[in-house]
Symmetry: C2
Subunit: 500 residues, 2 copies
């Protein structure tokens, strides 16, 4: 596969027209919710509901059969009862449709005759050359073309995280989670039982997708191990891949089996696969997205040395502790830095790394002069800083000075936006990974302004440290694979030349 | 110490009157902020600002010297420049004041002559029999008597978490953090350099404090190791203690030393101390408060077996994976449970634990019938459930049925509150630990209503699983210590009887 358009997923994620099976005007059904979220996101292609009796469905002209649709749609979506999916797929095949999403469940994952039903589905597809996502999946989201086939209505913003998931929940149920981090999907695929299109296909699509800066995988079990490793090794030297694998523990294994019918393997086996593939492993869903956040949004670090800025001891000590546990160094600062810092740090503070400002005479120093000095330190590969900036901390002193509440609120917000701007400017200038942490809510003015400017903010220094360590791990693995595969390619070439 | 009133901290946390040094009418100073937050919380005792020139400070009559105050205050608080603290303490001693908080920094933690200054402070205190918190601390919060001597204004709610911290930040900077969990401090002490009153004193006070159901410790280093272990062993069999120690890693160690001047020790040493003491160790601040949340708020589990309820596979599989890694079992359910579940679970769901409902015909079954069956299972010691209930998920379908937006919002909220009530009722009836997890914001209607009813909600199943595992660890340690010390006490008694 050389072009993204050769991927079986290209038309699934970028359809010009859709035949939709299973939506009606009854608001209780799953199919209705899926069509409704497709329309509410403002999808700009043509949509043809197929319904046996209704003349219109959700305001669109409906068709009694797919045959009657006045064009050959790029994609068919099925949210039908299990027993009639195969027949509907067959009709689509006859019509000339070559791509489908089978949302319907009740196949291999339920065991027994579900296996037979899935085999039949695959046979029909093969007969017509149809490539399909599912069954037992939730579909696809591609906010860049306003496509959301999942049942969850959302103004999902376009972003840089490409997701391929063996759980549909993690495609649909995280829009809000990502939003709090100003993140969005470039495209997200729920592969379900992966009867025809699988994780490897998704990874290859996302590897070539120009909107995707980082690929996240949620894995309960890999069927094509060798293809997975080969595809990953082609991608990881130039685009990071993060994987959450949950089939490892005995309990996770049982849950994974019952869910999509994929056999999970021993945890260590998967550890090896990921290492060999250059994939960064996450252990929780929180880590999966934390790692995607920094790997997709920040420049790569040159090494593992972190400089930490705080204005109180506890947050500094916990950050240093977390860095240490994550395998990061918190090195002493250079003499140059120490002398430049002198004027900003009172005698109760500390110029040891973590640097503890305690108190700034000019509060904005904390957001500009000091981070500029620290992030620029020659011993620092990465910068991490603590923030405690509730809106009221700026607003209340203004009110005490006699500024009316509304104006104080506006001025406080302006000041906080200025500080976030200053920090974003420093991040850009310095070109090193830059993360913040706070024990405050991410929705507050300052953290949300930071996040909007691409500076990740974490609710615990431990998460920040693990995210930075994931970047270091990625850089090392990517270098190694690039070196190995580059050398192997060169050797192949020499062998080829010698033989010719 | 038999009574809480014998504790040196009793008058510090429950003063009837306070002499306040260092507040003025200038709004920029730290002392002014401290007095302001004391007053804004509505402290009901008498407050006497001491100020060399002002007649009133923040609306209170000020006194040129402590001598002129018309009574002997229970407590003196110092937010003065370092050089004049000793003299002020001496004057308080002469006046007869016997308890103090020294917020002022610049003592042992800055090294050099700071050591000498701290020695002098201790000498003055000893001469007059004064017990004091600090120096280099942030003071105390006791919301039960509306006392907040820290610089951070807050309507901190009374709660059950007692905190003793070698970081002031973790006393002041977490009010909002706790609030999101409907948690509050019973009392929180910032010990600073602990020159006179230390962590052991705090732990003993909190052990006897009737408002404290769980004790949290933030530790950078323990000075009185033996006293610490002895005090902890007296407390832990009947009241859980959770400790976050950050001096362990090399980097954390350096940060800890520079912060309060306490020497940190090897991580393993502290691991041993905690185990010996029956203390549950946390590794991050998030864990410290997660563990306090469940240990203070939920009944103790009889064993380590968890039943998990979800309505989608991914959240179930991640929960099972996290439980497995945390050392919890996710056992098969009893036959009774399986047959009772039958009517609630469609064929696409799973009755394996994690139980995956997929879809409920009656949405309220997820919040009442099903959890009641699962939590009551004889194989389950604990119950954990996934929730995806954005307000809009309930409100939008109502609007599609033609209900006007405002009414739909109100009805949605009513319905969500009913579900939280049902769950709280089940939790109470079943008497087992009960936690929820969600990838949604804790401030949304449903999670916040759950939290208000004492059901912890976590943003990742991993946090939920670790919190439950902390409870299991606590139960085992408490039993062990109770057994050992009980046996030792009995032996002592027998030896005593034999000798007499």
């Amino acid at each position: 596969m050389d072009s993204i358009e050769d991927s079986p997923l290209y038309r699934i994620a970028n359809p010009g027209s859709i035949a939709f099976f299973g939506a009606s005007n009854s608001f209780a059904s799953m199919g209705t919710s899926c069509l409704s979220s497709l329309l509410s996101m403002g999808y700009e292609g043509r949509v043809y509901p197929v319904h046996p009796s209704e003349e219109t469905v959700q305001g669109l002209s409906a068709f009694a059969s797919v045959e009657e649709i006045p064009e050959v749609p790029d994609l068919a979506i099925f949210v039908l009862p299990t027993k009639i999916v195969c027949e509907a797929l067959e009709q689509c095949g006859k019509k000339g449709i070559r791509h489908a999403i089978v949302v319907t469940a009740g196949f291999r994952e339920v065991g027994g005759e579900g296996h037979e039903r899935e085999r039949e589905l695959v046979e029909v597809a093969d007969r017509y050359g149809i490539r399909f996502l599912g069954p037992n999946c939730i579909g696809v989201t591609n906010p860049h073309v306003k496509l959301n086939t999942t049942f969850m209505e959302s103004p999902a913003r376009p972003g840089y995280v490409g997701l391929a998931s063996q759980s549909g929940s993690f495609v649909t149920q995280l829009f809000d989670y990502l939003d709090a981090r100003a993140l969005g999907f470039s495209a997200a695929f729920s592969v379900g039982n992966a009867a025809n299109v699988d994780l490897v296909d998704c990874m290859e699509y996302l590897g070539r997708c120009p909107n995707t800066k980082v690929i996240g995988l949620y894995i309960e079990g890999i069927a094509r191990g060798r293809a997975f490793v080969e595809a990953a090794r082609r991608i990881t030297p130039r685009k990071p891949v993060v994987a959450l694998y949950v089939g490892g523990s005995e309990t996770g294994k049982r849950a994974g089996m019952s869910h999509t019918g994929t056999m999970a393997g021993p945890d260590r086996l998967y550890d090896g696969i990921f290492r060999q593939s250059g994939i960064v492993r996450a252990h929780t869903l929180t880590e999966l997205f934390d790692f995607c956040w920094v790997l997709g949004g920040l420049p790569g670090p040159a090494g593992n040395r972190v400089v930490v800025q705080t204005h109180s001891g506890g947050p500094g000590a916990t950050a240093a502790d977390s860095c240490g546990r994550a395998g990061l160094e918190v090195p002493p600062l250079t003499e140059t830095t120490l002398s430049r810092l002198a004027e900003y740090i009172p005698h109760t503070g500390s110029k040891n790394n973590p640097v503890d400002i305690t108190f700034s005479k000019n509060p904005q120093d904390y957001f500009s002069a000091v981070p500029e000095i620290l992030a620029g330190d020659a011993n620092a590969d990465m910068f991490m800083s603590y923030y405690l900036v509730p809106d009221n901390m700026v607003k209340r002193p203004l009110m005490r000075m006699g500024v009316p509440e509304e104006e104080a609120g506006r001025k406080a917000a302006e000041w906080l936006v200025q500080q976030a701007d200053a920090l974003a400017g420093i991040m850009k200038k310095v070109g090193k990974p830059f993360v913040g942490y706070t024990y405050r809510d991410l929705w507050e003015c300052f953290p949300s302004e930071m996040v909007k400017r691409g500076i990740p903010m974490f609710s615990d220094p431990d998460r920040a440290a693990r995210a930075l360590a994931a970047m270091v791990r990625y850089m090392r693995m990517a270098d190694r694979i690039d070196g190995q595969d580059g050398a192997a390619a060169k050797q192949d070439q020499q062998v080829g030349e010698a033989a010719s």
